[in-house]
Symmetry: C2
Amino acid sequence: MSRLFDRHRALLDAATAALRDRGYWAPFSEIPSGRIYGETAKSDGSAAFAARLGKPFSLPEHPETRRVGAEVSPWGPELGITYPTADAPALVAASRAAAPAWAAASVETRIGVCLEILVRLNRASFEMAEAVMHTTGQAFAMAFQAGGPHAQDRGLEAVAVAYEELSRTPKNAVWEKPQGKAAPVVLEKHWRIVPRGIGLVIGCRTFPTWNSYPGLFADLATGNTVILKPHPGAILPAALTAAVAREVLAEEGLPADVVLLAVDEPGREITKDLVTNPEIAIVDYTGSNAFGDWVRTHAGDAQVYTEEAGVNSIVIAATDDFDGMCANIAFSLSLYSGQMCTAPQNIFVPRAGIATDLGPKSFDEVGAGIAGAIDALLADPARMSGVCGAVADPATIARVEKAAGLGRVVRASTSFEGARSATPLMVAVDGETGRAHEEECFGPISFLVAVKDPDAAVAAAADLARRKGAITAALYDTDEDRILRSADAFARAGVNLSVNLTGNIFVNQSAAFSDFHVTGANPAGNASLTDTAFVANRFRLAMWRRPKAA
Amino acid sequence: MSRLFDRHRALLDAATAALRDRGYWAPFSEIPSGRIYGETAKSDGSAAFAARLGKPFSLPEHPETRRVGAEVSPWGPELGITYPTADAPALVAASRAAAPAWAAASVETRIGVCLEILVRLNRASFEMAEAVMHTTGQAFAMAFQAGGPHAQDRGLEAVAVAYEELSRTPKNAVWEKPQGKAAPVVLEKHWRIVPRGIGLVIGCRTFPTWNSYPGLFADLATGNTVILKPHPGAILPAALTAAVAREVLAEEGLPADVVLLAVDEPGREITKDLVTNPEIAIVDYTGSNAFGDWVRTHAGDAQVYTEEAGVNSIVIAATDDFDGMCANIAFSLSLYSGQMCTAPQNIFVPRAGIATDLGPKSFDEVGAGIAGAIDALLADPARMSGVCGAVADPATIARVEKAAGLGRVVRASTSFEGARSATPLMVAVDGETGRAHEEECFGPISFLVAVKDPDAAVAAAADLARRKGAITAALYDTDEDRILRSADAFARAGVNLSVNLTGNIFVNQSAAFSDFHVTGANPAGNASLTDTAFVANRFRLAMWRRPKAA
């Protein structure tokens, strides 16, 4: 078989079992602890990151006609790193040249290489955390988790789902058809796995590894070569990933160009050149609906998997833990300043208020409760910075300022020193007269939406999900019948629903090996991480058969 | 569970096992024998067919604004049957109205209904054979097999693949995340299967059941409602299928409109209205590349699965059974007068001839050998009619006449009494100077193409498959190294290859549960019958979760 496959076989088997079980399983620890990652891991990671600043990034043998790179940390400093790049035809040609050797490698060789890449990426999690922090603006703790182990979990998940699919059809079979009293017809049959070709993985600014690893590893496992196209503001995480992948490939005697980096500059993006190149057979895209539309329309016969955007809602019908609910929602709104595709935007509350364990609460009291919980959460400046992180895109700051005019401000957005920053803005609107909340407002912007009653709230949230897309929904309620009805309504709208979350678990969070991320059933994306449909069409089977020699 | 599911559980389990094994397995007997189907089955089937002629076809409760139907048997008589129909919006509305009950049925209920439909269709195989014979022009034996049991096999295959995929994720799970010394976070999670919506299955004239059952049953199993859109020349087989499906649905207390029939007339087709209807979520299409292009371009966000057309090739490099080879190819060219998507069109032969067990054979001698074998095969008039069947479309006759001018005629096409008919035309061309053979010439038309040598032949055939599509390829060769190289070349071109077939097995034949039909890896189609990709994206999963009560 394969040395690397054998080395990581137990990890793969455990991943496959976890996917069937859907309970909690986390192969790569999310705790940034020296006891787990090695006593010097944190300082080694910092040093490694610091050593890259202001220098050309080394990617031996990578196609290079020029160097580009203009990353600026949302926490302040310019990174000053340049990356090798080439135009789309040159990258496609290099990828094509690497393809035959990768396609010819056995399934076990490819899976082994993928697993080794993931394990090495895990070891580099502290350096990756700094890279993610200073490109996305995430605070360190989140950058470590989301950029490191949680992304690696999603990569492993894709490898495990792909391996199961690649193993489904035997390599060989004997087919013996009876012919009455005559001798049977006996054929030997042989199946080959045929990869589609070149996969293009288009990354986003806010989660450059987490959202790219599923497509990257699904492509690699199924035998396709990959061109990683990072957002020009978040190149380093992709470059570190490509460096590790190319290192492992070269060590195994395989072409490093199986994984390429397509770096460009803001305003001079080469994404469209790549998407429309007829040799690109698969596109994985994370980003806005507008460009997602363009990609889906212009990708020709390429398979396209997208995670786009949507409008996520919380419905508050009733609660038996008002303080716990407010604290939980406050954290979901504050975390990374709402720059998560899973962050809630709309909070639907009955106009007449709700029943709670603290007695009836009016619409305004619910708003005040959440706003107060945000203030309490962010009262300590270090925690404010650690929870909210920095804002990746200056346009988000402008959007927050504009959104303050869309209704009655329940909580004003504030900023803090040391980063481009914005704490949660909350604006009250009326769901019957206003439509402002129906548009996606990416960033720390939420709408407290007054509606007639809980059923109207669920109907409005589900309808919005169906029309505009949604990745998450949350419900607070104490009526079991209504909870079950709501679960049906959100399922029909293709949204995953969290009910009555309090404590240390949040609607924003999606756990690999248990939660599918995005359903693929509304405009927020056509793919789901990681179901069979995400991998099964990345390769095809070709058979040859002949009479079996007696 | 479900009564019907329990009744057919053993059949389903055996199908699933067969798919893993890929050996020979045929649940529905292809032998039109009274001992298998009942002593009076053949006469009962004939009587049932005859009773339908000249009358309105009964589909109780089916939407009906008018009746249409103008089928004429390629064997002569007008069928005179009319079918209920309505315009696209009315059919879509009826399908939508039936959807909630079908989506709400358990997986086992739906699978049980599908299996019961298939078993009843099997019992009706003799009537179906007459219906297929007198719409497609197939001779009775082929109409029985391809229209009946072989189509039912492909339907069962889709149900089995779908059931495995629907069973992959548990309905419920408990997720328990450790929190150090604190109490763990414990969530209960629940997954629901969400069908995409309405599936449109566009059938073809030549194989109205075989090519439609995979999409029909994959849609039904995964919870989608279906609108069957038959070719206006081959409605009856689809109508019989719909009648059986609606009968089973109604018996089970489910809406009969889960399966609808969209009948139209030549020149007044409603296919485009249906494809572009935004409520159509899935399209299964079998037909020409030209209309396939249109469907893929205009189906919007609907999932589209196609079997289009291609140019299938045989490469003759050498043989140790010249007579067996010629007889085998003769049958493949003659069967149903080449009106199979799997029928060969081009026969590449080295210009200098080949080595055989009967000594060297020149290019012309190879052509004469195959032409002679065709003449021998069709010498008996009854066998001629029984092998060639009738020609479905008058345009095919015109195409045969025109093709005779494309090169040197090696064998002229002939016709016979009692049917619109055409026996195989074979035309010799030079592969270096001519391009006529590179276009699909549907029907009993083949080109004997002179090429430099066997490697050039394989390269030309594989290249043609890659550019124009191909569903099958065949190779006759005695050099093991070259056979293995050719297997690689055809695999890269996405074509299934048959090597050295002689006797009672033919390149045209694809066996359910063993052979995948179409690879999806070249322009002959984007789907493969029946791999996981064919079913996995016809439904989505939606989850809800909440803290688990202690």
